[in-house]
Symmetry: C2
Subunit: 394 residues, 2 copies
């Protein structure tokens, strides 16, 4: 055997990713690269904002002595201060820089905080449909991912959550604005979830962390507000990232906000700063920490995505697709017009369109379309999307 | 409980790191920041080479469309090609770019390949003394770290290795030039180790990987050559990094070379490219991949460290310390003049000197001095090192 049994198993569970890549490659061979309409990946298409580019040039030209040496595992104090200031302003509550850790993206942050919290066999609850990697992050650290199905509106279902929480539950991992559904969890839903967690904490005499992955926080459209879990639940942690808001996913700079009111903040801070090192992350890239320090409040032009959403969703409605219009994020999660979503993926592929089947997100009978693409790509996709549903209904 | 029991346990095992940081902080309070002589960390002091700076400026000024978007998990093909070409030239054997994965530093690479290879309870052998994090990397993925003590010359001891290998052994992890000892494993020792692994592979009908961490490969002094395990053992993997040779540790760019002759190369390549994503690393920072593409064969001024080694080791010899003169790397591993190394650390602290006790590396009775520092820091350390051994002998 070349790789471990567990890895073979994981590759199977994660095969949608290879399949999407493989599907795109096969399509490219058939249709040429320009013929493929790729709506599969959350790879922001807009370029970083002008301010990013000039901050990067400044940082590179300045390049003081020691700029590329290891810093404290928690990150440069300047970067932590900038993130803390921005978060405090955004949330209307004081987040001190001591509660901020600079991280290798929100995905790195997720792995670090999960590792800090779990012993073997502990449970972490994810709301399904969920980011495909969430259960794998939990499994990486020997814990058990437990899916609590969302309700019909793709919001956390408190009954399901109530049933899912056990004395082994260490954390609930949520994501709003959501991938894949585009839902933004309304403040009352978040509050109710937090009240439930506090009851369970009391019942089980256990901290139950709320880990809120807010990497799409700035991609909230039409003025819908993203609630602040830090004010609702003391044992809470926010995962953030500049990947989406600055359109620099491949530069890997994110952060973690620990709730200043968290019972065990010092322990958690020390643990995360140590684990980031022992997991091999060591620190968020120095150059990007220096860049984001200069970019408080700057975002890429996310209007493009709102326009894309409008164009895509207006058309999907007209064609007869069923879905909830995404309020934020980069994706629409659409009901498959035929019950076998794999069959519908084939119909889309016939039109040169690559999407991701709902099963990748733990919810079959659906598929995800990414609209963080060139507006022309949305436009080019529409005729194919129309034909595919027509053929499905034949 | 705030963090998991396992994390509390890990923090204890890793306490030398907090202790060194804490020790330095306490000393700084007593002596002022300038009074502290920090020989504890492998944080390269020399600045990156001129070529790094100009490549970085070029990359930032060029900044083509999509430069900061996710690329394939294995990295930009241009970066993989540049690393492959350099490795092929360096090793006198053809390494195709398909065998190169761009990684988040050698530490990230170690975690990815270990995760790919192990099922729960599998064993990975490390030669002790070893990099403090090695057993933690193994433990991260549910495998068991097994220490095979080095011989008196700090070289792999084949008898100890023979005893350590069991049917559960998935890999042997070595490091040359070595941290903490500075030894470069001679080619005959590497060959003998590889022959042993091949016998064991045959006996146990199991691939046993040799993972060779060569992050200090370019820090080999006095013309000592670092052997090429890729030519000696088919099931081998090299971990490399630009952290040390370009003095850019905090930018996190490294790579993995899979042996083109490896039995399961395709599987391992696929697994590593997938696991880097599911572990949260996603990709090596895009900007640094583009920079290193332009820097084949360029290194920082490592002569400074050779000079530092000479100045430090000449003096240590004169003062009566016992140690093997490091042939490469950034460290000298020195016998404690008193059997209780912790007591000797205190004597060093009295002189304002921070070092790391041997127990952090799995070998007590020693301490490690890092000489990847400003030459003035070595100079300033010498009187204190002299007084400390004199006091120890009183």
């Amino acid at each position: 055997m070349g790789v471990s049994k567990r890895t073979v198993e994981l590759m199977k569970r994660y095969s949608w990713f290879a399949d999407a890549t493989e599907g795109r490659r096969a399509l490219e061979e058939k249709l040429g690269a320009d013929g493929v309409i790729d709506l599969s990946l959350g790879n922001p298409h807009v370029d970083p904002p002008r301010e990013f580019r000039s901050a990067l040039v400044d940082v590179v030209e300045d390049d003081p002595e020691g700029a590329h040496r290891y810093m404290s595992n928690a990150g440069f104090m300047e970067a932590r201060e900038a993130v803390a200031e921005q978060a405090s302003r955004d949330r209307g509550a004081e987040i001190p820089p001591e509660c901020v850790l600079m991280m290798y993206g929100a995905s790195g942050a997720a792995n670090v905080v999960i590792k800090a919290l779990v012993d073997k066999g502990d449970e972490i609850i994810v709301v399904s449909p969920h980011v495909p990697e969430y259960p794998l992050y939990v499994d990486n650290h020997g814990a058990v991912p437990v899916a609590a199905p969302a309700d019909d509106d793709f919001l956390p279902d408190l009954d399901a959550m109530n049933r899912a929480i056990t004395p082994n539950t260490r954390a609930v991992l949520i994501n709003s604005p959501n991938n894949p559904t585009g839902r933004i969890y309304p403040e009352p839903v978040l509050r109710a979830l937090c009240v439930l967690l506090q009851y369970k904490e009391r019942d089980f005499r256990n901290a139950i962390y709320l880990i809120s992955d807010e990497r799409y926080r700035n991609a909230a459209y039409d003025g819908v507000k993203v609630g602040d879990v830090l004010q609702m639940h003391a044992n809470s942690v926010v995962l953030g990232s500049f990947s989406k808001e600055l359109a620099v996913g491949a530069e890997r700079v994110g952060y973690m906000l620990l709730n200043p009111r968290c019972d065990y903040r010092q322990d958690l801070m020390m643990a995360c700063a140590t684990l980031i090192r022992t997991l091999g992350f060591v620190n968020a890239p120095a150059i990007m920490q220096r860049v984001v320090t200069k970019l408080e409040g700057v975002t890429a032009n996310l209007d493009v995505y709102r326009e894309n959403r409008n164009a895509l969703c207006d058309a999907l409605e007209k064609y007869g697709y069923k879905f909830i219009r995404p309020e934020g994020g980069f994706y629409a999660f659409v009901e498959s017009p035929v019950s076998d979503e794999a069959m519908f993926m084939k119909l889309l592929e016939d039109e040169g369109i690559v999407a991701v089947p709902g099963s990748a997100f733990g919810r079959s009978g659906y598929f995800r379309l990414a609209f963080c693409v060139d507006p022309r790509t949305v436009e080019r996709a529409l005729p194919g999307l129309k034909r595919a549903i027509e053929r499905a209904k034949d």
